[in-house]
Amino acid sequence: MNENIILSSRVRLARNVDGLPFKRVNTSTIATKAMSALRTTDSYTMYPMTALRPIEQLRLVEKHLISKELIDCGGSAIIRSDNKVSVMIGEEDHIREQCILEGLNLHDAYAELRHIDKVLGGEFKFAFSSTYGYLTSCLTNVGTGMRASVMMFLPALSLTGSLNKCISGVTRLNMAVRGVYGEGSEAEGYVYQISNQKTLGISESDIVASVENVANHIVESEIKARAALMQTDPDGLKDKILRSYGILCNCHAISKSEFMKLIAFVKLGVYYKMLECADMAALESFIAEIQPASLCLDTGGMTSGGERDKLRAEKCYKLRQIITRTGG
């Protein structure tokens, strides 16, 4: 039942081109070179931030393909056609390679990135020292330049109030926990990201293993919390889940924060088998479609908050196709 708890796994590597300063450097040549190297291996598209509308930039952020910092820095993104691999040029470091895969799959994500890293390493000489490893702009990335993270859906730990205990345990293991949707650390939709903090004095395979270990441990705690939640008030919980589904399918206007709260209960309903979902990946991409920038783009431009809420409700009607009510 991991798919319902661990949504995706992401690995990113930070690299810099040897001899160039980290800041105030024109990275467009790096982008062009990287693009021509990557193009020989697969189908990639380059998106210079300066050529995109703000709303198009935000959509890439919502899809976790680029960071907000890349927009501020005016860099470029090179994205593979399957949206699993993206390379950011001109962010905090000259080059940031990342791979996102569904479920708990850090091993494969890293294997995929090693290949990308080799291709780019053939094109550029990376700044590297035998003492400090890959040299990065920020001291928090030096060494492997690697950040491995898992996106986790943790409603029961949040609702039972055990999440803080869990977070403090995880941070003691040199891991960071933060909310995925919404600003800062506010965790909308009970989705959290767990990632390694240490990048120096630890090998890539040990980073992968340690993050997977912690993720598995949190999965166990979440499963226990889900059982406890059910045991404490089964009727109340079932009512809450079915009401959430009912509201989502029948509303006329709905804000993003209300949507995120209700969809979390719907996902819990799927876990408890009160609701049926044939394709969890379709559900996750449905949630991504409902985020503000994606909604605006679908309608061809900026819309006001009120208009967006109506649009969102309209889209929610589609939820019936992805999720159905079970007999029980």
């Binding site: 980290f22 080799k118 020292s129 035998s130 920020c138 240490k198 890539e204």
Partner: protein, 152 residues
Amino acid sequence: MICQRCNKKEATGYMETTINGIKKRVYVCPECFKQAQLEMYSSYDDMGLFSGLMGVPGAKAKCSKCGTTLREISDTCFVGCQYCYSEFGDRLKPLLRNLQSAQMHIGSGPDGEKSDEIAELNGRLRKAVEAEDYEQALKIQEMLKKLKGEEK
């Protein structure tokens, strides 16, 4: 008493700072007091975290390639270029210890398979030492020496 910051005006009060557990009292004039407060609040976020470097001689040292100072690095955690790492050398180590609790890379490198192997062996070496299996550790050390020897 003369202000200990500008050494010009009359000091009317004092500020207390604690660096590495040592309390220090500085007598200042009203202007310098205001200025010091401003400086303190503008870099407030980083002060607590990296106070290990505050007041250390050499904090003003500049990287000859990009001009970034050690103080800037300790305040922001950002270096200006790759040469900052070699230019500041040992002086970066306390910062790295704070941030990473390590000072040495043991992962892979750009030269591909060989560095992967070294990384793998380093990992095994650490585990062997942790398990106090020194016989195994010695063997791994020998293998590492051989592998690194070939590199030269």
